[in-house]
């Protein structure tokens, strides 16, 4: 079985005019990786690290400056139209739907664009509408939808023609926690049911943790890490933070095992404890805290992508 994505030394340079000087900027620098069918890959990196540029080269929008790329066994630029039948892309910021038309009509048009058989298209649309719970707003114009509703419609639009590869560019950005959860569950189901390959760029570590079994970290155009999420955590010592609101001001909790005390607010009413997700869990830390003081409320902070990337980069420099 051919790999779904195969890149070798993929490079993309831009000429940037700064005043009277011109510099060549390498947005993507000698990227080499392979994605097999059925994988779910998280593609993370800081803003401007080269993620969007990579996606544009994978889908045939941009021509690489150097190197090779094959998507679904096809050359993206030369075979763009054939490739379009096998790839679905969800852009977080750009819409593929027709703005002033009811959502349902967009699906109808897309079915015609992909030349889907009428009955099969109807069945597929019904299935997606059902599983993404869009029935209530199928006749609402897209411009009147909330962000969560629109993102569900975008995902349905990208999956309508049952592509082998689905690329999602920041799909959960701006969504509330519940919507993110439902979207992730849907993607997991879709993958299990059809073996669709997922490539996901995101700033949300929660997305990566729950959806992906592999992580690619890109920094300044270069591939800084390619492996599992666990491996990444181990490499950079990724920490989650438990924030506890206590019932009474308490001196700093410095002796909870497996944690580092980050700080206290309001004389000890709120305290922040960092712990390594590899060695302990939020539940264990909470139990330990509960043994010492009474906890009124709590929240857990996930590690910052920027932080992870920075650490990976710093790590790879050593």
């Amino acid at each position: 079985m051919n790999p779904i994505i195969e890149t070798r030394g993929l490079t993309r340079e831009f000429t940037v005019r700064a005043g009277l000087r011109r510099t060549r900027l390498r947005a993507v620098d000698a990227l080499t990786f392979t994605v097999e069918a059925g994988e779910a890959v998280g593609y993370i990196g800081a803003n401007g690290a080269g993620k969007s540029t990579t996606i544009k080269m994978l889908t045939g929008i941009l021509v690489p400056t150097a190197g090779d790329v094959l998507t679904c066994g096809l050359r993206p630029v030369q075979d763009r139209r054939r490739l379009a039948r096998h790839v679905g892309v969800v852009f977080g910021q750009r819409s593929q739907l027709w703005w002033d038309l009811p959502v349902g009509e967009s699906f109808g048009i897309l079915a015609a664009i992909h030349r889907l058989d009428r009955a099969a298209a109807r069945a597929r649309t019904d299935e997606l509408v059902d599983r993404l719970e869009m029935g209530a707003y199928l006749s609402t114009p897209v411009r009147q939808l909330s962000l969560g509703q629109r993102m569900r419609a975008e995902i349905a639009a990208a999956l309508l023609h049952s592509p082998r590869l689905v690329i999602l560019d920041e799909p959960t950005i701006g969504l509330d926690v519940l919507s993110k959860q439902r979207l992730r569950e849907f993607l997991i189901e879709e993958r299990t049911a059809h073996g669709t390959t997922l490539l996901l760029t995101t700033h949300d570590m929660g997305d990566v943790a729950r959806l992906c079994d592999r992580v690619l970290v890109i920094d300044h155009g270069k591939l800084a890490y390619d492996g599992t999420l666990d491996g990444l955590s181990r490499r950079v010592g990724v920490e989650r933070v438990l924030v506890v609101d206590l019932t009474a001001p308490t001196p700093d909790l410095l002796d909870i095992p497996g944690t580092t005390h980050l700080g206290s607010e309001a004389g000890g009413l709120q305290q922040r404890l960092a712990f390594d997700a590899e060695h302990t869990t939020a539940a264990q830390v909470l139990t330990a805290v509960n043994q010492r003081v009474e906890v009124r409320d709590l929240s857990v902070e996930e590690p910052d992508i920027e932080d992870v990337v920075r650490r990976v980069y710093a790590g790879s420099r050593r």
């Binding site: 889908t59 400056t65 593929q96 109808g108 992909h114 059809h194």
Partner: protein
């Protein structure tokens, strides 16, 4: 789960056009839903047409013959040019939306669909409000044909039809050419408007009055003289100036081909620039 059956290979012409028909039908529906705006646009298009006709009429109110044409004769030129331009504008006029797509990044969405990008741009909208202007054009042609003493023959009828088709094609090419240039000029719509709408204006004029630079630009580079003026000369049985004899009227299809060649070439170069290919 059953894969949706996708039609491959031998696709009949009807199915090949289905994606474009679907988008256009949706645009027509959308325009109908903005009813009051649409009616205003329809009315204003017509009014603008009348105003432009009035300008021509005012000139002939002052002099009887201009560039070898009387008002009734120039009405034929005006009618053919205006009708063809309105028709081209109806189907291609929105191509100047390209800068908006470029700035918003929504052009990339076109790349993700299994159709040529230019075809998607062309079919992304249809400006039905131009119908009233096209109506004005038809009216002008009909009145001009009635009031002028035309020596009808099968050849002349064929020429009229040929002229209308070629003129529409030539103007359509202008819109595509202008769109292709937008890949380079980020907000350069005014530059291309000069030649698209200036071209329309030139097409309604009796080319005999043109100075040398205009002859080069609108006589041959953007062949406006071939759209309406030359066919009108031939239909009316007038000889035309030395540098543009009436017989050239039969070359209108060549003018259309030349224009489309220029348009597609510009579009190709523009796309390549956008995608960063070719170094």
């Amino acid at each position: 789960m059953a894969e949706p059956v996708v039609h491959q290979g031998s696709v009949g012409p009807v199915t090949r056009l289905a994606p474009y028909r679907a988008v256009l039908a949706a645009r027509v529906r959308a325009q109908r839903s903005y009813r009051s705006n649409f009616l205003i646009d329809l009315g204003s298009s017509l009014l603008v047409g009348f105003v432009e006709l009035a300008e021509v009429w005012i000139l002939f109110h002052n002099v009887h013959v201009l560039g070898g044409f009387t008002f009734v004769q120039i009405l034929l030129v005006f009618g053919i040019a205006d009708f063809s331009f309105a028709l081209a504008d109806l189907f291609f006029g929105h191509c100047d939306n390209l800068p908006t797509y470029l700035r918003a990044g929504t052009l990339d969405v076109f790349y993700l669909r299994p159709q040529p990008v230019l075809m998607q741009l062309i079919t992304s909208e249809i400006s039905l409000r131009r119908l009233s202007r096209a109506g004005l054009g038809v009216g002008s042609i009909v009145i001009a044909l009635a009031l002028n003493d035309i020596d009808w023959s099968a050849a002349r009828v064929a020429l009229l039809v040929l002229a209308l088709v070629s003129a529409t094609a030539t103007f359509a090419a202008l819109f595509v050419w202008a769109a292709g240039l937008q890949f380079f000029l980020v907000s350069g719509a005014e530059l291309t408007n000069a030649f698209v709408y200036g071209g329309r204006y030139a097409a309604t004029q009796p080319a005999a009055v043109w100075s040398r630079p205009i002859k080069v630009v609108f006589g041959f580079l953007f062949p406006m003289a071939f759209t309406a003026y030359l066919p009108a000369l031939e239909l009316l049985g007038l000889p035309g100036p030395q540098w543009l004899p009436a017989g050239l009227a039969w070359c209108t299809p060549l003018a259309a081909l030349w224009s489309w060649g220029m348009a597609l070439g510009t579009w190709r170069v523009g796309m390549r620039h956008y995608q960063g290919g070719g170094g």
